[in-house]
């Protein structure tokens, strides 16, 4: 049986966890600043840490792509634009434990030889932004940021930058454009940010949880981190359970834990109901059903079953939920957030929304199912960035697992479900 492994969440129940006093001194940063920067990159490679923002790219490898001795400024940009539907781990992490992120930023910036770092945080989380500003100020006052940090001769400045409401800015190159003061639209790659990122200089962009995990790796060793998780998905991660579960919340566990195990810890599906469908890692990851409760939640096993681990955002829906309604709403989200730069995504999400609206009202035909899968086929792999690909995940997976439910809508000329039954209070 897999058990929970609180590391990043370990101090969240302490009232002063978000202060420097509550967090404690930056022992890992102190240790790192006495190391050779390349040794830090090697340690993170050895740990097996893979990006926690969804894509799972090996973090140390990404750092290793930064050209050294090129005479250009290097930048670290933390992607704190957490906006993927269902994803709710970085926001409580930064609210409760912002110093783990700041300490991780110091170590990472030193490793990639950056003297300027940014936290790009979504704007809609005011108190989290306050906590970040306060943590950065405390770190400056304690000499962990600024010039000659801890007498090492290393300088680092860190700016907390608030976004302004745009899901697309979670895409790393759109984030860079936004941080440079432009509309947040993705850039053509290559060049990759490691070569030409912020201000056309070498830039590492990492998710909050990835960077916040770095101090624990430096402190405890790469082997300690790699000792958790599965063969190719090492370490721990925060699993966010939401929806029709008895005790939704943040469960920090080794990668490879199953939804069955997590549900046992969370008190199961809400009383008197059974699971119908769920997302393993946010709305951009194809949905799973009750067939997949024992799939190890790591990058490989989830991928082998046709979905993606994503951000471990486990949105759980029971049998009262209409899958067509859920997919329509996600599709409306993608249409709303499409940046408009490329045609397949801009036009495709718009038309998906139109057809799905008709389907949900029971006014569609079986041909419409072909239409939406055709549109999705023409978005997938043909869009400028991953937003378009993500928009097709709910479409393809819901038609695959719940075709009959779509058909039922036409048969009866409406939605067979009562939305009131799905609500928190509808069950009372």
């Amino acid at each position: 049986m897999t058990t929970l492994t609180p590391v990043l969440t370990k101090n969240w129940d302490q009232p002063d966890a978000f202060t420097l006093q509550g967090y404690g001194e930056y022992a890992a940063a102190r240790k790192a600043l006495a190391m050779d920067p390349d040794a830090i990159i090697q340690a993170v490679k050895d740990s097996g840490l893979r990006g926690r923002g969804g894509a799972g790219f090996p973090t140390g490898l990404k750092w290793g792509f930064i050209p050294q001795g090129d005479g250009k400024p290097h930048y670290l940009v933390v992607n704190a634009d957490e906006s993927e539907p269902g994803t709710c781990k970085d926001i409580p992490l930064m609210m409760a434990n912002p110093h783990s992120l700041v300490e991780g930023i110091i170590i990472t910036s030193y490793a990639i030889r950056a003297n300027q770092a940014f936290i790009y945080v979504r704007g809609e989380v005011l108190h989290v932004i306050r906590r970040l500003h306060a943590a950065v100020r405390e770190a400056y006052e304690a000499g962990y940021l600024g010039t000659d940090i801890l007498g090492s001769g290393y300088d680092l400045d860190l700016v907390v930058h608030s976004g302004a409401g745009a899901y697309i800015c979670g895409e790393e190159t759109a984030l860079l454009d936004s941080l440079e003061g432009y509309r947040g639209q993705p850039r053509l790659k290559p060049p990759f940010p490691a070569v030409a990122g912020l201000y056309a200089c070498p830039t590492v962009i990492n998710n909050v949880e990835s960077i916040a995990s770095v101090p624990s790796i430096i402190d405890n060793g790469a082997g300690w981190f790699a000792g958790m998780g599965t063969e190719k998905s090492k370490g721990f991660g925060i699993f966010s359970l939401s929806g029709h579960v008895t005790r939704p919340g943040q469960y920090e566990a080794p990668l490879g834990i199953t939804l069955s195990e997590l549900l046992d810890m969370a008190g199961g599906i809400r009383a008197g109901h059974r699971i119908k469908f769920w997302t393993p890692g946010g709305s951009s990851t194809p949905i799973f059903t009750d067939e997949h409760l024992d799939v190890p939640l790591d990058f490989e096993a989830v991928g082998a079953k046709g979905s993606m681990l994503g951000t471990r955002a486990l949105q759980i829906f029971d049998e009262t939920t209409c899958v067509v309604r859920a997919v329509l709403r996600w599709t409306e989200f993608y249409a709303h957030e499409s940046c408009g730069k490329c045609t397949p995504c801009r036009e495709g999400t718009y038309w998906l929304k139109q057809v799905l609206k008709r389907l949900e009202k029971g006014q569609g035909t079986e041909e419409d199912l072909t239409t939406i899968t055709d549109i999705a086929d023409n978005i997938l792999g043909r869009s400028f960035c991953a937003l378009g690909d993500g928009a097709t995940s709910p479409i393809h997976s819901s038609v695959k697992y719940f075709r009959d439910e779509y058909l039922k809508h036409f048969e009866i000329g409406g939605c067979p479900f009562d939305p009131a039954a799905s609500t928190v209070w509808g069950d009372a």
Partner: protein, 237 residues
């Protein structure tokens, strides 16, 4: 949508710019913000939050101010301001109330909350009540799904809402009662005050409120109850 008397109330009106004393204060703040960035244009999003904190929305004068401070054309500023949903094109209420209607919150009751609240308040998406007190917004996911259904007021968390609690919340805001976010400062600040924090000028309230609460702590509670921890340092050797 109703005509909002506050539209004319801001310190800036289109074409005339800010009065000198306001301009001087904004310039001081703007220069501090611009100084943090290696390249000045990076300060555009923060400056748009700053002018929104002055006027309650992004006014013509505010955009002109941003353009002047950063050496941009006004068209460049408008092009950016119109891309982001948090920059409002018309006056919002003192309390900007959002209801999450993305899939998970919608299913858990957000749709019903929105329908009932919108009817109760009498305004729709991105609209403001005639007295300028309350505006409503249909929100996309706000990263608090374990607290569904979620509402936000001036970008503070109001967790685990119901139609009744939502209406009560709006009544309390209108009546000037003290309202506390679920995870945030004891006193809810105004939309303008919130915008100032977003521009990068903190208000000193960071230490208010809990580190974490409710669902955020469920996993840690389970771990503690079972005596589960991460391996100790050196366990791998």
């Amino acid at each position: 949508m109703s005509v909002n008397p506050k539209a004319q109330e801001g310190s800036a009106t289109a074409g005339t710019g800010y009065p000198p004393e306001v301009r001087e204060r904004l310039e001081r703040d703007a220069k501090e913000i611009i100084g943090r960035y290696p390249k000045t244009r990076s300060a555009l999003l923060p400056l748009l939050h700053l002018v929104q904190s002055e006027d309650g929305y992004v006014t013509d004068a505010g955009q002109e101010f941003c353009a002047e401070m950063l050496g941009l054309s006004k068209a460049e500023v408008v092009g950016v301001a119109t891309f982001y949903t948090m920059y409002k094109r018309r006056p919002m209420g003192d309390y900007h109330v959002g209801v999450c209607i993305n899939t998970l919150c919608a299913v858990m009751g957000g749709d019903q909350i929105w329908d009932e609240l919108s009817e109760y308040v009498g305004v729709g998406h991105d609209e403001t009540t005639p007295d300028g007190r309350i505006s409503l917004e249909r929100l996309e996911c706000n990263a608090a799904c374990d607290f569904a259904p979620v509402m936000m007021v001036n970008w503070e968390f109001f967790d685990n809402q119901t139609p009744a609690s939502a209406k009560q919340l709006v009544d309390d805001l209108r009546d000037g009662k003290e309202v506390s976010p679920s995870r945030g400062p004891k006193r809810l600040c105004s939309f303008k005050e919130a915008s100032r924090v977003l521009s990068g000028l903190p208000d000193g309230l960071a230490s208010d409120g809990p580190a974490a609460a409710g669902a955020s702590l469920e996993g840690l509670r389970v771990a503690k109850a079972n005596g589960w921890t991460a391996p100790a340092k050196g366990d791998d050797q």
